[in-house]
Amino acid sequence: MELNGAQIVIQSLKDEGVEYIFGYPGGAVLHLYDAIFQQDDVKHILVRHEQGATHAADGYARSTGKPGVVLVTSGPGATNAVTGIATAYMDSIPMVVISGQVPSAVIGSDAFQEVDMVGITRPCVKHNFLVKDVTKIAETIKKAFYVATSGRPGPVVIDIPKDITAPDVKVSYSYPKKVEMRSYHPATTGNKGQIKKAIELLLTAQRPVIYSGGGVVLGEGSQELIELAHLLGFPVTQTLMGLGAFPSTDKQFIGMLGMHGTYEANMTMHESDLILAIGARFDDRVTGKLDLFCPYAKIIHVDIDPASISKTVKVGVPIVGEVKLVIRQLIDGLKEAKYKIDKKAAESWWQQVNQWRSIQCLEFDRNSRAIKPQFVIEQMYEVTHGDAFVTSDVGQHQMWAAQYYPFDKPRRWINSGGLGTMGFGLPAAIGVKLAHPDADVACVTGDASIQMCIQELSTALQYKTPIKIINLNNNYLGMVRQWQEFSYESRYSHSYMETIPDFVKLAEAYGHVGIRIDKPEDVRPALEKAFAMKDRTVFLDILTDRTENVYPMIETGKSHHDMKLRVAIGTTTDRELS
């Protein structure tokens, strides 16, 4: 088959099984857009800003496990995509971004809309390519998808100069069935010796805990994790990125850990003698002060990326491999060793854990006349029967969504954990809804975050992606305000916007339904009404308690057992129960 460069790009995407391209046209990609126009297999979603394209592709990828695909033009199109690429990179999300480039002959001449995309994205991609020859397009695309989706996933950029996609140069096309790269061999199963060492530790632990992260979601290891956890009977805590891989409603689940983790999760970590870390990377938001991190624990660390192991916290038993396969090896090894739960040790450990749990650190004032943001999330959980896909932006609302919406399935909780990108939630929700047209998709956001990619409301209308925007409007940059309250003697420097738009009118201007809620008793009916409107995007502007804070909180430089708790329930910050 003889095709030109632009046709090869689109045909390759089709052969790769791509359903959607999220993009925005421009000079350097006009040939590609012409090729898109002449086919119907790969659908193009026109966003309103390239950042939105990357986040929408990201939401699609996180909710399906399939790579998200983005197409942007050179120069500003490419630089606008960088925030979204970095977002995907930090959270290891498979994504292929095709950027147009100025024609080969003028590269380096500061041509119109020229930017060194390969150079700019180098530190925030898993890999990137500059295609210099039309005959190399198909192979490069195959490699890009292979690299993006295998091993520790991540975004891959393919920069294509305009002349490479020119309509008049035709070459023979066939899409490679598979690709070998001599320099890239992702790990598979774990080293048997290491597995054996891990099992010995698991057999003798007295105060163990499983700490699982986003890697279990990305590596499709949820079923195996559940099986392993039930076999071991250990308490399970999850990172912000890991939520849903182990069911939050399971009695072994003790909540999220880290800066805004539960009291019981952080105390369990702090007092444990063995941590089984799976697909988690000991991020600073999880560990708190490193010197004081889990002083009594031996650590087993399972991760696909060797560079994640002993990066911040030295571990005793590293196991490099796919989480799904390694957990299976651990289960088999335990069964072989005739593992039985040490009832006496387990009973006394669980008694301790349950004592921490009994503090009910997530309790809040339910009689308040102001709308509590936590209450909104709880109500949303009930209205959606805990089965919605929930995207979020970044800030207090993100933490409340993570704390008060117990996810029972992986890939349901979609947020920017690593980079912390405000503006992520709305475009991500559009990507999720396209992939799951029959599911409830909610974007939990705040009055500041939502304004960072608000233009995508227009995309939501064009492609009929009826999502529900839950705007926890406190008229503050809430998380910034909280830090200023705690660490800067309440000097609220620029964490308040004097003017915010009338979100109801704004939603209506974009062709959607807008509803404002300012009384607690109106929250439930409004949510029910919104989720019942299956074919409309609804913007719920919920005026919440302006001074509410996220608790518990481990402040910078503190450790897991040193949490700030909500004073209202009469707990102190330095409670030591053991």
């Binding site: 390969v118 180098r122 898993k126 001599r182 320099s183 560079a307």
Partner: protein, 163 residues
């Protein structure tokens, strides 16, 4: 501690900047870096000299291995190895010191490869320490220019870094 890392990397545009960029982005230090194609034109070999604690060097090696273009690498510090660096030095000469300088060059097994009535260019190879020692013996004010290649290294014995 000082580590000499030998890297086989795809001989492609931008491969060098991936390595250099990694070091600057993660705050690792590069003492020297040399790179040239190998007998296999599709591969380049780099020798990178860095300093850091054992933990840092372990991370450096893992991060380098993670680069898609890196085919293979070894930390030469972990094997018995040989290091050599090439240096060219241009020295201002006056008649009475030319003989003395020649004998110092002989002692260091260097070569004088360019001569003018007022200057020598000296070629010297050796370990980086030896080159430092030569520079220390020469009058600082007489040095016009020093060019050093940075260290390259290879392990002793039959084993080697290849595909």
């Amino acid at each position: 501690m000082r580590h000499v890392i030998a890297i086989l990397i795809e001989n492609e545009a931008g491969a060098l900047s991936r390595v250099a960029g990694l070091f600057s982005a993660r705050g690792y230090n590069i003492e020297s870096l040399t790179v040239a194609p190998t007998e296999d034109a599709s591969l380049s070999r780099m020798t990178l000299v860095t300093r850091g604690s054992e933990d840092v060097v372990e991370q450096i090696i893992k991060q380098l291995n993670k680069l898609i273009d890196v085919v293979k690498l070894i930390d030469l510090e972990e094997t018995v190895h040989i290091e050599r660096e090439l240096m060219l030095v241009k020295i201002k000469t006056v008649d009475k010191m030319r003989d003395e300088l020649r004998s110092v060059v002989d002692i260091f097994r260097g070569k004088i490869i360019d001569v003018t009535p007022t200057s020598y260019v000296i070629e010297m190879t050796g370990t980086s320490d030896k080159l430092d020692a030569f520079i220390a013996t020469v009058d600082k004010n007489s040095i016009i220019e020093v060019v050093r290649s940075g260290a390259t290294g290879i392990s002793r014995g039959e084993k080697g870094l290849h595909l």
